[in-house]
Symmetry: C2
Subunit: 250 residues, 2 copies
DNA sequence: GTCCCGCCTGACGCCACGTCAGGGTCAAGG
DNA sequence: CCTTGACCCTGACGTGGCGTCAGGCGGGAC
C-alpha cells in the first residue's frame, strides 16, 4: 500500500505519515524503485498502535519508546490502552454528569460554586502511568529486574494460559454434548470460570463486559468459527451460558 | 482572585491564563494598581466554558467566537457541550470495545482485518457542528433568520418553560400532601411528565439519566433546599417517584 | 530593612503537524 | 506514443498552544 491508501484507511493525512517517517516513528517497510513509500501489514499494525497512544495523549517521542521497548509485548500495550481508555470513559462521563448538573441547576435557578464546576478538570496527566510507577519504585535495579521478570513470566505463562483456555473450551464442548442446557448450573459455572480466567490472565472483566464478549462470539463469524471448529453449536452455547451466568449474578 | 489562585482552582498554569489574556480570549475584569490581574466570578464562568470547549477540541479562536456570539446564551453552550460530550462518550466506549475485541481475538489466535481495527478512527471533526449546519443550510439569510428566531424563541419561551416547571413542582407537592405514595401511579405519571418536559425543553433525558437527576435532588443540599422550600419532604418524594417511574418503564 | 514568594512583561523554543513550492511518476485515454 | 490528471517525492516555512527562561517589580512576614 502507498501513503494515500494508508492515510485514507487510517483516517490521517499523508503529511502525518511523512512526519512519522521523518521522526522515525513509523517508517514504511519498503520503497518502490521510484521512491514511493510502501506500507506492509506490520506497518499498519504499528500505525494502529501509534494512533491509539496518540489518541490517549502521549507525545510521539514517548509513543516511539513505548513501541520500541523490546520487553513490552502487544498484550502489554493492549492492557495499558484498555486501562487508560476506561479511565477516560470514567472522566468523560463525570464531565457529562457535571454538565447535566449545571443544566439542572440553571433550570432551577441555583448556582454552583466554582470549586464544584472545576473539579472535573483535576489531574489527568497522560504519562502518569510510567511516571507513577517510576515514582513509586524509583528507577532502581529492583524495579528493572521486576519488570524483566514480569516480562519473562508472561512469556513462560503464555503456554499455560493458552492451555487453560483450550481446556475450558473442551469442558464447554463436553457439557454441550452431554445435553446440559446452556443455562444449567454446569454451563453457568463454566461461564463464570471463563470470566474469572480472563480477569486473572488478561484484564478485569465484570459480568457486563463478559456478556459483550459472549455476544461477539455469535456475531463475529471468525469467533464463531473458532468455537464451531471445536463443536457445532458451541458458539451460541457459550454465548448463552455467559449471558445466563451474568443474569444469575446480577 | 489573582492568577495563581485561579490557575490552581481551574487546574491550568499561570502561563495559560497569560496566554488567554494576550489573545483576548479571557481578560481579567480588573487589575490592581500595581498591575496584578484580578479575576472575578464572571471570569471564572468564562474560564469554565473555555476549558470545556477546549477539552472538546475547539481551537481557541473558535472558542472566542462561540463565547462572544451575542445570540448564544449559556443554555445553548451547555446543550452543545452536552451533546458533544455524549458523542465522545460513545466514541470512547467504541474504542474500549475495539480494544477488548482485539484482546479477545489475540487470546484466540484470530487476527482482525485492518479496516476493522481502524474503523473507530473514522471522522470526528471537532467543529463538525457548525460546519454541518453551515453546509446543510448554507450561510443564507434564511439560515441566519432561523438562528435569530430560535434565539428569540428561547427567550420568549423562557417564561413559559419556567412556569411549566413550577406548575409541575406544585402538582408534585399536591400529590405529596394528598398522601399518594411516591411509587403510586399518580406520582410516577408526574415523574414521567417531568422527564418528558426536560426532553422537550432542554436535552434528551432517558429514564436512566433521569434517575441520576433524581438522586441529585436528595444528595445535593441546594437542590434539596429548592424542593424543601416548596414542601417539606418533596425532594425525596420526587427522587423516589422518578426512580419508581424509571423502574416501571425499564 | 530584607527575605522570599508571587506577579509582571518580553522573547525564544517546541511539538505535531498544515501548507505551499517545485518537480518526478503512473495509468488511462486519445 | 504522447498527453493529461491524479498521485507521489523532498524541502522549507508557518501555526497553535502553550513551556520555559530572563530580568525586574510588589507585598507581607519577620
Amino acid at each position: 500500500m502507498n501513503v494515500g491508501e494508508v492515510a485514507a484507511l487510517a483516517g490521517v493525512t499523508v503529511r502525518t505519515l511523512h512526519h512519522y517517517d521523518r521522526i522515525g516513528l513509523l517508517s514504511p517497510s519498503g520503497r518502490t524503485p521510484s521512491g514511493y513509500r510502501q506500507y506492509g501489514p506490520s506497518d499498519l499494525d504499528r500505525l494502529h498502535q501509534v494512533l491509539l497512544y496518540r489518541e490517549l495523549g502521549f507525545p510521539l517521542e514517548e509513543v516511539a519508546t513505548l513501541l520500541d521497548d523490546p520487553s513490552a509485548d502487544p498484550e502489554t500495550h493492549l492492557r495499558r490502552q484498555h486501562r487508560m481508555l476506561r479511565d477516560r470513559l470514567e472522566r468523560t462521563s463525570a464531565m457529562v454528569a457535571a454538565v447535566e448538573k449545571e443544566m439542572e441547576a440553571r433550570n432551577m435557578g441555583i448556582s454552583l460554586t466554582p470549586e464544584e464546576r472545576f473539579e472535573v478538570f483535576g489531574e489527568q496527566d497522560p504519562a502518569q502511568y510510567d511516571a507513577e510507577v517510576s515514582q513509586r519504585w524509583g528507577e532502581t535495579d529492583a524495579y528493572k529486574q521486576s519488570k524483566r521478570k514480569t516480562a519473562a513470566y508472561t512469556k513462560d505463562d503464555w503456554v499455560r494460559i493458552k492451555a487453560e483456555g483450550a481446556q475450558l473450551e473442551a469442558r464447554f464442548a463436553a457439557a454441550l454434548r452431554s445435553g446440559a442446557a446452556p443455562d444449567s448450573d454446569e454451563a453457568m459455572d463454566l461461564a463464570e470460570e471463563h470470566r474469572q480466567s480472563i480477569t486473572r490472565n488478561y484484564y478485569d472483566c465484570p459480568p457486563e463486559m463478559h456478556v459483550g464478549l459472549g455476544r461477539m462470539y455469535v456475531e463475529d463469524e471468525r469467533f464463531t468459527a473458532h468455537y464451531e471448529k471445536i463443536a457445532p453449536g458451541l458458539a451460541r452455547y457459550v454465548s448463552t451460558a455467559v449471558q445466563a451466568n451474568a443474569t444469575r449474578q446480577g
